[in-house]
């Protein structure tokens, strides 16, 4: 199986503290499940220097293993817009192919706009955390309607709404008419019929495999695509072709 995992979290935040074992393990476990490349998502820091260092760790991974690690920078929407643009340009020029946004600010917040504009100008997608939760919701956490709001404000920005099972059917309907939004397949456990629902509503071209590793596990998360009631052609799109196109790897 060939697959690109578009949702793998970074666990390296300080250059001098390289987590050798964790990095080796990420590679070996992914490859054991037939995953050829992973998009490493850098996590958030509000302090500019700490954030730059975290992005540098991801850049280092990309340099060390260019055939395996792809990089997504983190940009803090609470930082100065000039710094956001400068950091975004620096990371893209160094080879990063996406931007990560988490729960620092809701997607409706206008302070996200600088990041959305930079993503469009630099032609990289934003992978944005989203979830419809009944419990355990974070204060600024976005749901599908928030992602849709951002996508309408920035129709030239490509957005990957994270956590298909988390946003559920309501989240799919929120974005199904917005051609600049994709969805990744992770989000908790492996509810049947969810991937098929997303494909019926959004089309197989806009659904992308992601695992949410290391909080989740490569193999069972792959199973929700491999075991779904879809054609081989659609599974191939979800497992690697859509990601390769979106990240301009082919």
């Amino acid at each position: 199986m060939n697959a690109i995992d578009i949702h793998v979290h970074s666990r390296w935040s300080k250059l001098e503290q390289r987590p050798d074992y964790r990095i080796d393990r990420t590679k070996s476990l992914a490859r054991q499940s037939g995953i050829d490349k992973v998009l490493i998502l850098t996590s958030g820091y509000k302090d500019p220097e700490a954030l730059r260092q975290y992005n540098n760790c991801t850049l280092r991974l990309m340099e060390e293993y260019p055939d395996f690690f792809l990089g997504a920078m983190y940009l803090s929407p609470n930082q100065d817009p000039a710094f956001i643009r400068e950091e975004a340009s620096r990371c893209v020029e160094s080879g990063m192919v996406a931007i990560k946004q988490g729960i620092e600010l809701n997607a409706r917040d206008k302070r996200i706009d600088t990041i959305a504009e930079a993503a469009a100008e630099l032609d990289v997608p934003i992978l944005f955390h989203a979830w419809y939760k009944m419990v355990q919701k974070f204060p600024e956490e976005s749901d599908g309607s928030d992602i849709a709001d951002l996508a309408r404000r920035h129709p030239d920005t490509r957005i990957i709404m994270a956590h298909l099972t988390g946003v559920g059917r309501r989240g799919v309907q929120d974005v199904e008419d917005l051609p600049n939004v994709w969805v990744d397949t992770c989000g908790g456990w492996y509810d049947t019929e969810m991937v098929e629902y997303a494909v019926r509503h959004m089309g197989a071209d806009r659904v992308i495999y992601g695992s949410d590793y290391p909080g989740r596990d490569f193999a069972p998360q792959l199973g929700r695509v491999a075991g779904a009631g879809l054609s081989d052609e659609d599974k191939e799109k979800i497992l690697w072709r859509n990601a390769a196109l979106l990240l301009k790897l082919i």
Binding site: Y21, R22, R25, S28, L29, Q32, S33, W131, Y132, K133, M134, V135, Q136, T165, G166, G168, G188, W189, Y190, D191, T192, E193, Y213, P214, G215, R216, D217, F218, A219, P220, Q221, L222, G223, R224, A226, G227, A228, G229
Partner: protein, 271 residues
């Protein structure tokens, strides 16, 4: 492979595949599963789960693929009568409790009465700690997770009873069984004896257990001879739990024990 966690029937909260016995068997066989222990899905919400047993168990009991399993509500006055009917008519080797959905605690007197009877008959008692992700439940039916420690306490009160817990999700949920070390950074710890002390009559089913390298970590947390493979079909894609174990870097002997041998030993079934 022997799948110890299969629901048969209609799930009320969303569409699920393979709602009848024949199509469920086909779904599981396509994944390489050769036998499965199944219970009626309707039992989650019907006021008397025995009506769900009566609907599904006759067909499950006739199947050579399925081992039938009944769901009972021990707070109902007729629970022990239902139990006897399930034993007499369908020879169930396992009964299951859904305390979160049927609104009782595991120290309810009806639970102990049923447990005592099951122990006498060498019938296994399954306890479903969760069936869904609590974060995305239907808001009109928010069902809390049943703590593992409550099931452990039940197993300790009834040492002659074999108890299976379904739905342990994270290593941290096993904290009540921890005897040494820590469960943080588990992946970085070398293989050694399991970190938990599990009562000899307690078994852990793994369909919800997930973290990086889930199965290899499960073997570090729990004794391998007490782990059970389950798919939680049709709520979960069965492929997910098959790959969770098959793609793991755990030993071939551990995989074989959990995929096949342990459940057959527990339920005393032959291939």
């Amino acid at each position: 492979m022997f799948d110890i966690n299969v629901g048969c029937g209609i799930w009320p909260f969303r569409p699920t595949p393979s709602g009848d016995v024949a199509s469920m068997e086909a779904l599981l066989r396509a994944e390489g599963i050769t036998q499965a222990c199944a219970y009626p899905l309707e039992a989650y919400l019907w006021p008397d789960p025995q009506e769900a047993n009566e609907l599904r168990l006759p067909e499950l009991a006739e199947s050579s693929f399925f081992v039938p399993s009944a769901v009972l509500n021990p707070t109902l006055p007729g629970c022990l009568k239902s139990y006897e009917q399930c034993r007499r008519e369908w020879e169930v080797p396992m009964i299951r409790l859904l305390p979160g959905y049927h609104l009782y605690e595991l120290d309810h007197p009806g639970v102990d009465a049923l447990a005592k009877k099951a122990a006498q008959d060498k019938v296994v008692l399954g306890i479903h700690l969760r069936a869904e992700d609590e974060r995305m439940q239907n808001p009109i039916a928010m069902v809390p997770f049943v703590p593992l420690k409550n099931a452990v306490a039940l197993a300790k009160r009834h040492p002659a009873l074999q108890v299976v817990v379904f739905g342990v999700g994270r290593p941290g949920e096993a904290g009540c069984l921890l005897v040494e070390g820590a469960l943080r950074h588990l992946a970085e710890q070398p293989d050694s004896r399991p970190r938990t002390s599990v009562p000899e009559n307690l078994w852990i089913e793994l369909s919800f257990f997930e973290f990086e390298s889930s199965f290899a970590n499960a073997v570090k947390v729990f004794p391998v001879e007490r782990l059970l493979f389950g798919t939680h079909a049709p709520l979960f894609y069965p492929r997910c739990n098959v790959l969770k174990i098959r793609n793991s870097e755990a030993s071939a002997s551990a995989k074989k024990a959990v995929l096949v041998e342990n459940a057959m030993r527990l339920l005393e079934v032959s291939a």
